[in-house]
């Protein structure tokens, strides 16, 4: 896909690409354009219930932003969100990739079973999936605690969320559990795309399995990994429902992530302007940290024309 590329380049003035992206652009701009614009203006306003009712917002410039940057809680939450995101992304990609590679070398019945399990996990409505986990780790009805106790340990009844480390581990478990099916299935689909001829050719050339992986499989998988990692970062940074539901719809402040923090300001305290500012700072900080990565992705996207 590199040497032949040049054959295909169309003159830049061509309208054909624009026609191709027009429908997508129209829908995205139509549905998301105004809300995003409004979100930005909102972040420069004081906008609470009174303003909602009167319909007249108060412009306050950068006050929301300044207040946030001065608030130590904001920085704590930001840091926590990054650590959590990093851990989630690493765990879900490693586990997802490991399973996908295993799947390729599994007995076909087991492969079918695992595949079906993954699809079932995926098929469970998110809220229900989280509720099941919540229940599995609840204080009174926990199958996990009772199984541990049955194995001879004495955990009595246990609130797994009193300790934030075990709490975040469980939240992470739910996130990873929900993310793995998609990652595994995508990587496995990519693995099946590796042309047999290439593998055979490499084998005939006497390459060992590590070499084959490096020179044949990896180049095909790399773009998939890039996509999956970037999406995982984006998704895990926004994790909301898992925390919200597992902590009884009222997470204590030591469980705040950026998404929860923005939500609490907006809907809990009706400070929609502040909520918007947090949401935008969230995007900006995410962009800041992943800047090189995103530049790289844009380059990748741009290069294979």
């Amino acid at each position: 896909m590199t040497s032949a590329t040049k054959l295909r380049i169309e003159p830049k003035s061509n309208f054909w690409p624009y026609l191709l992206i027009a429908p997508a652009l129209t829908v995205i701009l139509l549905i998301l354009g105004f809300p995003v614009f409004r979100l930005i203006t909102l972040s420069f306003q004081q906008f609470g219930l009174a303003e909602i009712v009167s319909g007249i917002p108060t412009w306050i410039g950068f006050e929301n932003y300044l207040a946030l940057l001065k608030d130590p809680e904001f920085w704590i939450v930001l840091r926590r969100t990054f650590i959590f995101t990093f851990a989630m992304v690493a765990a879900s990609i490693v586990i997802g990739a490991w399973l996908a590679h295993l799947m390729a070398r599994m007995n076909s019945i087991l492969r079918w079973l695992l595949n079906t399990t993954l699809i079932l996990v995926w098929a469970i409505p998110a809220l229900v999936g989280i509720s099941i986990w919540k229940w599995m780790f609840s204080f009174e009805f926990s199958i996990i605690t009772s199984t541990i106790n049955r194995l001879g340990f004495d955990f009595a009844q246990r609130n797994w969320f009193t300790n934030t480390f075990s709490g975040f581990s469980i939240i992470g478990g739910v996130v990873v559990w929900g993310a793995v099916p998609f990652i595994t299935i995508s990587i496995y689909a990519a693995l099946t795309q590796v042309p047999k001829e290439l593998l055979e050719a490499a084998a005939i050339d006497g390459a060992n399995s590590r070499q084959i992986f490096r020179s044949v499989i990896l180049p095909i998988l790399l773009p998939i990994y890039v996509i999956l990692i970037s999406l995982s970062i984006i998704w895990d940074f926004q994790v909301f429902t898992q925390i919200w539901v597992l902590l009884d719809n009222r997470p204590a402040s030591e469980y705040y992530t950026m998404a929860i923090y923005a939500f609490e300001k907006s809907f809990g305290l009706s400070e929609y302007g502040m909520g918007a500012a947090i949401a935008l700072l969230m995007i900006i900080s995410l962009l800041g940290v992943t800047w090189f990565y995103i530049k790289k992705m844009v380059q990748i996207g741009d290069s294979n024309a």
Binding site: P35, L39, L113, M258
Partner: protein, 274 residues
């Protein structure tokens, strides 16, 4: 690329199935337990009772069939339109060059970083102005907008993987560009289309917040909103909720098994025709 199965892979597979599958198992078995067993403070892994009461309870609740129908319609429209539109856009990104391409790609990435809850109020305002609230079309269109960036980006990845030589060869063989796309590119894109279709399906199938805010009449609810109705001030009806969730998961599994066969045939058909 299926090699012989290895013992290590098989054993790990069994573990993975157990760990990933346990919550699923717990949902399904709970849906067949009686109330007392569901609420036991000494739960056991093997169920101690069997009843189909929970299913009877779930099915007899108002709105099940209507919400099932609505969900199916919304999801099918969403999947069809988003795949259709995304295929064009991904071809543009993967196969052509144009001014503004970088900005287009960046905006696709940035749009996905927006937290949904921050957008709800302006979005509802917009949909009200467009008179699209409480309509299946409005909900589906919103889903399409949220799903498109991902779909385009993923399809682009799959397209980028397909050596351009194959199309070249087809063109040399005397195919028109459209024929080259349809008979060569599309079949090769099949796995990508399937992956994105499933993704779009599941996203739209499970989405709660937008559906709750946008849809209003009782006859327009989707399944996740209907499921939320199992929780009231007086708590959650676990047994019936698990039964209803099990039923809700079935269409996804059916959709997936139908479409997964397609991948295999799609790929081989593409190879033969190419």
């Amino acid at each position: 690329m299926h090699k012989k199965s290895s013992i290590y892979a098989n054993i790990s597979g069994v573990f993975a199935i157990v760990f990933m599958g346990f919550p699923v198992y717990w949902m399904v078995t709970t849906s067949f337990k009686n109330r007392q067993d569901v609420l036991s403070t000494e739960p056991t892994i093997l169920p101690r009772s069997f009843t189909i009461e929970n299913y009877q309870n779930a099915f007899s609740r108002e709105g099940f069939y209507a919400s099932l129908r609505n969900s199916l319609i919304v999801v099918l429209i969403t999947v069809a339109i988003s795949l259709f539109i995304a295929t064009f856009a991904s071809v543009a990104i993967a196969r052509t060059k144009f001014t503004g391409k970088r900005s287009f790609i960046s905006s696709l990435l940035i749009v996905q970083m927006l937290p949904l809850s921050a957008l709800i109020i302006p979005l509802f305002l917009l949909l009200t102005r467009l008179q699209l609230t409480n309509t299946i079309g409005g909900l589906a269109l919103t889903y399409v907008a949220f799903i498109l960036p991902f779909t385009i980006w993923t399809l682009r990845g799959f397209l980028a993987n397909i050596p351009i030589d194959i199309e070249e060869a087809a063109l040399v063989d005397g195919c028109t560009r459209v024929q080259a796309y349809r008979h060569v590119l599309l079949p090769l894109m099949a796995p990508g289309l399937v992956a994105t279709a499933i993704f779009a399906f599941i996203q739209a199938w499970n989405e709660f917040l937008l559906a709750y805010i946008i849809m209003q009449s009782q006859e327009n609810l989707t399944l996740p909103v209907w499921l939320a109705g199992f929780t009231t001030r007086t708590g959650t009806d676990w047994g019936p909720l698990m039964a209803a969730s099990t039923v809700t998961a079935i269409p996804v599994v059916i959709f997936f098994s139908l479409i997964q066969k397609r991948i295999a045939t799609g790929v081989t058909a593409g190879a033969v025709k190419g």
